[in-house]
Amino acid sequence: MEKELLSYELFGMEFKNPIWTASGTFSYGLEVAELYDLSELGAVVVKGLSLKPRKGNMPQRIVETPAGMLNSIGLQNPGVEYFIENILPKLRKYDTKIIANVFGENEEEYIAVSEILDKAEGVHGLELNVSCPNVKKGGIAFGSDPQVLYDLVYKIKKVTKKPLLVKLSPNVTNILDTADACVSANADGLVLINTLLGVAIDVEREKPILSTITGGLSGPAILPIAVRMIWQVYSKYGSKVPIIGVGGITTIQDALQHFLAGAIQIQVGTANFYDPYSPLKIKECLIKHLRKKGYDHFTKLVGKAHQMIIK
């Protein structure tokens, strides 16, 4: 029954259900595998991988904010080679799709990591994190300059046959500018959205709480922003460009908003922190919702909220 309602072919492979876990909110999956079987998930997007190991930022790295949190982990990771040798063999035992999140400090690093992951058995797709500062371009994020982003995606497409998703930064004036750049460069899908930049200040000590001052805002607080950006991109491209919705999904109602706005798959992120079982709970509730509505497949929901207003 679950398979009938929830499985979907995308990027030439079958996702058993549309519930993924978001990069940076699930480590490399193995910690949660102590709690439940990862085969229950449509996909696991692993924590961002770079060419060399990265130590990450000094504490304090997280702070709770109204209905959300800021994080500044600093992309701590053991490096792509370590991941492939030591973590991936354990992870690929699970019957789920493994999506590797990729980042670099410059274009060459992005390409190098992508090339390595292209050859890695058990990695089903790549998700580009383009919210990193581009050192060569004065630290402006790759994801905020459409031309830079186009070049990056275009070049990475040349080095990998695996599906290439781009996780867009919401810290831009118009999300369609960067979405267009990715579509023109033949990205296979768009992941909407990454975290929003924020600052929290300790009013007693009268200084910023995070060691890096700014951090990425996530959690229920960002839900309407994610839904809005999915809405905009779906309005332009419809089902031609697969949208993976992420941002503020904590309950089934939130997940439904993502689907109705146009997401074909969704990622659960920060909700894993306060309830690691939340992706499974959302999946169960999705099945119930589809039955209640009399839908024979979850894709009946996708983009449906647009129907009422298309002229």
């Binding site: 924590k47 130590k55 990450g56 504490p59 304090q60 790295r61 709770e64 982990i73 229920p220 690691p276």
Partner: protein, 258 residues
């Protein structure tokens, strides 16, 4: 074994100072808990996501099927927690924490500061059960902040108390007699939990006296299960950040920057 349950609140009452006591009916957690382990508690009811995150609390005691917490009201989360009523159910995940106090010493010196003593009280019971020798030191600013006195008396433990203002026990810092206590108890390991300045002071003395010093750490945590990578401290040997929730919460003082 980690379980995710809705625990019934059996009691939630003010003790003294900033401290509250919460007793939870949580047999699955009670059965598997060990000293220095903690649980993640969602302060709000099911429908609310503000404050969003669960809070980490040391398991202060286990009595049959019950898990006992002592917590200070520090901010919004603990304020909301203090408003939860007996008979309500609350989301609890645990027991968590993998690296705990080593058990291979014959005797221990326990040093607990403020609410940090709740990170050692379960160890006291455990050591007594195991027939191990231990000395316990408990310090706080004033008598009001020595919120576990009642528990200590009920359980029949001998503890040396310190207050900054002399309102109870010895006047002064918890570290003032530590060197002589270490000398009087050769072969002991220190087990420490409390505010960072106190732990630093204890670790310094331990280093001078060349005795092992195990710290039970508490840092800001979003998840408690190793997936947010937020609660880190620096491991000196590898020069990498390690997770307090997953690689800890207990670390030998000389191995980490804290």
């Amino acid at each position: 074994m980690i379980v995710d349950i809705k625990a019934k609140i059996l009691e939630n009452r003010f003790i003294s100072g900033k401290t509250w006591l919460m007793r939870l009916e949580a047999p699955g957690i009670a059965k598997y808990s060990k000293p220095a382990q903690f649980i993640m508690v969602k302060p709000t009811t099911e429908e609310s996501f503000d404050p969003l995150l669960r809070r980490a609390f040391a398991i202060a005691d286990v009595v049959g099927d019950e898990v006992v917490l002592y917590y200070d009201i520090h901010g919004r989360g603990t304020k909301v927690l203090s408003e939860r009523k007996s008979g309500e159910y609350i989301d609890v995940l645990g027991p968590l924490g993998k690296q705990l106090f080593p058990e291979d010493y014959n005797s221990y010196i326990l040093v607990g500061g403020g609410i940090g003593f709740a990170g050692l009280s379960f160890l006291m019971k455990y050591l007594r059960e195991k027939g191990k020798k231990f000395v316990s030191l408990y310090g706080a600013r004033t008598k009001e902040d020595l919120s576990m006195i009642e528990w200590i008396k009920e359980n029949g433990f001998d503890v040396i108390y310190y207050t900054d203002d002399g309102s109870f026990g010895r006047k002064g810092l918890i570290t003032q007699d530590l060197e002589s206590i270490i000398e009087e108890n050769p072969g002991s390991a220190l087990a420490v939990c409390g505010p960072t300045p106190m732990m630093k002071a204890v670790a310094k003395i331990a280093k001078q006296k060349n005795v092992p010093c195990y710290l039970s750490l508490e840092t800001k945590m979003a998840c408690g299960i190793g997936i947010c990578i937020g609660c880190v401290v620096k491991d000196i040997q590898s020069d990498n950040y390690v997770r307090v929730c997953y690689e800890g919460p207990v670390f030998e003082a000389s191995e980490i920057e804290f």
